[in-house]
């Protein structure tokens, strides 16, 4: 999933000042580290009470077929929307990325080439209104993804996989089109079979991560008007049945939820009430963190969604630090050379060699905000290995190597580079760090900060950018949602755009490996092809990894069982968290 770089970096607005302040408080913070990465904390989790969830931006939709924010997917999966399978509550990346049965009796059975998957729905599982969840509900939910002219937004992977053509969604389909769709997703009692036009080895991962394949009850569907309507099948219901975009909702126990038909590794549903408080303002991150630092009243029972901004690092000391945790986020940031303009591979290698990665991390906010990345592939995504082309580059850059590579390229120096990035206080600082070393290595860098239309501009084939800044997070823990969406020309290129492939990179060898990965029948085999594909991207310098964001999280003092898990995209896992009574 593409990252709103500005939003992601907004919390770092005063990074330089904050680093200074953190330095002043170094005596404390140096000997008072946050909890070890990934460790759960906050005392033994118990049932009951009210948990306050403080969120710093509004969601785009509460419709399962349209949800696409990682945070929302993770939380709603634990609280209100169950799928056929789900990812367990676990801090171990491999365990957390291995689906377990949820509404289905098992994790699905593929056919020989994984182009067809069959699941059996558990008997007795119900919606919040007490009605049974049926195979037809799953099929109807999937059919809504195709109505993307009426209910816009959301992930749409199924459009290219499901073995059906010219299906306009359930609202406009004629009998013939609907019959064809019903063949693509077959229902036989409680058994549902998905038929794809190609292998989909990691289909259960997609089902666990995204809610696009979740069931939807046809009788309550109002198309676009259902955007904020919630019909739960999880342990909580939304009071009033509607999510308020800018305000949130109060979640209370679902009387028709049967815990015996659920798995405690997926959700423990400890609090009696979960009160979502959404503050969509630009200053919300600081205000939310200030409340949790103060830890007064109901804020003692609060779990904030945002990571601690650098401006507050100096206050995370003593007992407050005991309530903090530092983990890797699933979001990687990288540079993309424009292959239509920077055509010489030695020039691209020189760009990579010169980068002061440590300086970039400092500009991002330091060790609590970011860590150096050695691939575009996030460390929490299954099959991760360092990209050999970038693994051994020195932390501070190698100016002499960059000069040598530039000389070997045969290009005249200084070599002009137009560096385009989404402008914010933090990216301005990162750009300055990059420019300093590139200029020293023989480049002549022009900074090109853009604002709101950033991704529209860098997607265009005729852009004047030589190098661009971008961010990405996997849609599910598979590099199939990283490498092909970003570097395969076929789904990205058209006459007017290079899509998410901002560098307009095209390689037959890379695409052949992607095809082999797509046709793989098991995940290990698939990861093998993707590792080869990533290495090829490194050789071609199709991207240059910079850093992955860190999540530096805080919680109220009366929150129990707190943990950030890979299965919740490294957000606080609401499936495990409770509050003291």
């Amino acid at each position: 999933m593409r990252i709103n770089v500005k939003r992601m970096l907004a919390a770092s607005a005063a990074a330089t000042l904050a680093i200074g302040l953190a330095g002043c408080g170094g005596g404390d913070s140096g000997s008072d580290e946050p909890n070890a990465e990934g460790s759960s904390a906050g005392g033994e989790a118990v049932a009951g009470g009210t948990l306050y969830y403080l969120q710093h931006y509004p969601f785009e939709s509460a419709d399962p077929q349209r949800i696409y924010y990682g945070l929302e997917l993770a939380n709603f999966r634990r609280l209100i929307y169950r799928g056929l399978v789900g990812f367990p509550i676990s801090e171990d990346p491999n365990e957390a990325a291995t689906p377990v049965a949820d509404l289905a009796t098992d994790t699905g059975t593929p056919n020989e080439d994984a182009s067809s998957w069959t699941f059996t729905i558990k008997d007795g599982v119900t919606w919040e209104d007490g009605s049974a969840i049926t195979c037809e509900d799953f099929r109807y939910g999937a059919s809504r993804v195709f109505a993307n002219d009426l209910i816009t937004g959301g992930p749409n992977y199924i459009l290219s996989y499901l073995d059906v053509k010219n299906y306009p969604g359930p609202y406009k389909a004629n009998d013939k089109q609907q019959a064809a769709f019903d063949q693509a997703i077959e229902c036989d009692g409680n058994t549902i079979t998905y038929n794809f036009n190609k292998p989909w080895a990691d289909f259960p991962l997609a089902v666990a991560s995204l809610t696009m394949m979740d069931p939807y009850k046809e009788s309550v569907d109002q198309g676009a008007k259902s955007t904020w309507q919630v019909l739960s099948n999880g342990p909580y219901i939304v009071e009033g049945g509607k999510w308020a975009k800018n305000k949130g909702a109060t979640l209370v126990r679902n009387e028709n939820y049967d815990a015996s038909l659920d798995d405690p590794v997926l959700r423990q549903a400890l609090p009696d009430v979960i009160e979502y408080q959404i503050n969509p303002s630009e200053t919300s991150v600081e205000l939310i963190i200030d409340r949790v630092i103060a830890d007064a009243g109901n804020d003692q029972y609060a779990v904030p969604a945002p990571t601690i901004p650098p401006t507050r690092y100096s206050q995370i000391v003593g007992p407050v630090k005991d309530r903090s945790v530092l983990v890797d986020s699933p979001y990687n940031f990288y540079l993309v050379p424009n292959f239509d303009r920077v055509t010489n591979v030695d020039v691209r290698r020189a760009l990579a060699a010169a980068i002061d990665l440590e300086g970039v991390v400092k500009a991002r906010g330091g060790e609590f905000a970011a860590a150096r990345a050695k691939s575009i592939w996030n460390t929490g995504v299954g099959g991760y290995v360092d990209n050999p082309a970038f693994a051994d580059l020195p932390d501070n850059g190698d100016i002499e190597l960059a000069k040598q590579l530039l000389a070997d390229s045969g290009e005249a120096t200084p070599y002009p580079i137009n560096f385009t990035y989404s402008q914010s206080d933090t990216t301005d600082k990162i750009a300055a760090v990059l420019k300093e070393n590139w200029d020293a290595a023989g480049f002549d860098v022009t900074l090109d900060p853009l604002t709101d239309t950033y991704y529209d501009v860098i997607s265009k084939p005729e852009k004047t950018s030589d190098v661009m800044f971008a961010g990405w997070g996997a849609d599910w823990p598979s590099a199939m949602t990283v490498l092909p969406p970003l570097f395969d020309s076929r789904p990205n290129f058209s006459s007017t755009t290079c899509g998410n492939n901002y560098g307009c990179y095209q390689s037959d060898a890379f695409e052949a490996l992607v095809d082999q990965a797509a046709n793989a029948t098991d995940i290990d085999e698939q990861n093998g092809f993707l590792q080869e594909a990533d290495a090829l991207l490194g050789e071609d310098v199709a991207y240059i990894p910079l850093y992955l964001n860190k999540f530096y999280m805080l919680r109220g003092s009366k929150v129990t069982g707190y943990m950030n898990t890979p299965s919740s995209s490294m957000n606080p896992d609401l499936g495990a968290i409770g509050v003291e009574q």
Partner: protein, 338 residues
């Protein structure tokens, strides 16, 4: 006066329609693609085009403006698809006249969005108005009556200092210190009268209204002070004093009346502007009024909501001007409208 009011309302309506036309033109002059934004993150060109057609962004902007005008007069269906309406009526949203459009970002009619947000903005504006008019006039009179004293300079100086700070700073300061650190008031969260009763409603408005009031206070103190001072040196005040009138009567019945005309003008325009949403204050406090709606619609290319806001805010400003002009005649008998 009636003919005057009707004429001004007519001119106001034409002005409003011109504003919507300009908004449409400016929106399409900016190089952004609302269809791409609405379609989602993994859409290919074909899907984006499909969304563009579904949202009506494939039509020339002037035709889209024509559809908007039709909606104002006759109402509209979203999506405007006869077949869908016949086969799946509950999927189609009917927006009755005066329909200001349908926000594809929020999947709601603009009328619903604005009617949900307006009470919040209006509440903040009303309470802030009470704060700043009461404070501004009283402090202004006090300053005038103690002209040149420490109190006079202190009052004018302090209000100017408050005026010098931007509203986001005052708002954040009040939240961070008054609410979070000192705990004097609960963390502000808007409560309607239905949710919290009148006292809960007023309590929830205290900090945001105070933020706005501090911003407006300085102007009102200075205007009141200078007009009262000017009046106090007039012959009719001297005559009133010679007649033995009390100081209170002199000030409130005679001197203050001279300050009312400029004050009413300021109040009308300031209040009308605030009814349209205090963008910064509402955002700092996360009160989901028209200011928050405005910011979100601009950052998400939500043209229908933007146009609806233009109409609403424009209406407030135009109406306030008309009301102020009419009030002149009431306050000052020398003014005649016709």
């Amino acid at each position: 006066m009636f003919a005057y009011a009707v004429r001004r309302l007519g001119i106001g309506a034409v002005l409003l329609l011109s504003l919507t036309l300009v908004t449409y033109f400016l929106f399409f002059a900016v190089p952004s693609d609302p269809a791409k934004q609405a379609c989602g993150k993994n859409c290919n060109e074909e899907q984006i085009e499909q969304t563009r057609v579904a949202l009506g962004y494939d039509k020339p902007w002037i035709a889209q403006w024509g559809d908007f005008m039709t909606g104002l007069v006759k109402g509209r269906d979203f999506p405007a698809d006869e077949e869908l309406r016949a086969n799946n009526p509950n999927i189609v949203t009917h927006c009755a006249a005066p329909c200001m459009g349908f926000s594809f970002v929020n999947q709601q009619t603009v009328n619903e969005i604005l009617s949900g947000a307006f009470p919040i903005s209006a509440s903040i504006a009303v309470v802030a108005l009470v704060f700043w008019v009461t404070g501004g006039v009283l402090f202004g009179i006090l300053a005038a009556m103690t002209k040149g004293s420490f109190l006079d300079r202190g009052l004018v100086g302090l209000t100017l200092i408050a005026y010098a700070f931007p509203s986001f700073f005052i708002g954040k300061f009040l939240i961070t210190y008054v609410s979070i650190k000192w705990g004097w008031v609960e963390y502000p969260a808007y409560l309607s009268i239905e949710e919290g009763g009148v006292s809960g409603w007023l309590s929830s408005l205290f900090l945001p209204a105070l933020t706005l009031a501090l911003l407006f206070l300085a102007g009102y103190v200075r205007i009141t002070r200078s007009y009262v001072l000017e009046s106090l040196s007039e012959d009719y005040i001297r005559t009133a004093k010679a007649k033995g009138l009390s100081q209170r009567t002199m000030i409130f019945k005679h001197a203050l009346r001279a300050a009312l005309t400029p004050l009413v003008t300021m109040i009308g325009l300031d209040f009308a502007g605030l009814l349209g949403g205090a963008i910064i204050t509402e955002n700092v406090f996360a009160y989901n009024g028209l200011g928050v709606v405005a910011l979100q619609s601009f950052t998400s290319d939500d043209l229908p909501t933007m146009v609806g806001l233009v109409i609403l805010i424009g209406s407030f400003v135009i109406l306030a001007n008309i009301i102020v002009d009419i009030l002149y005649a009431v306050i000052d008998p020398r003014v005649r409208l016709g």
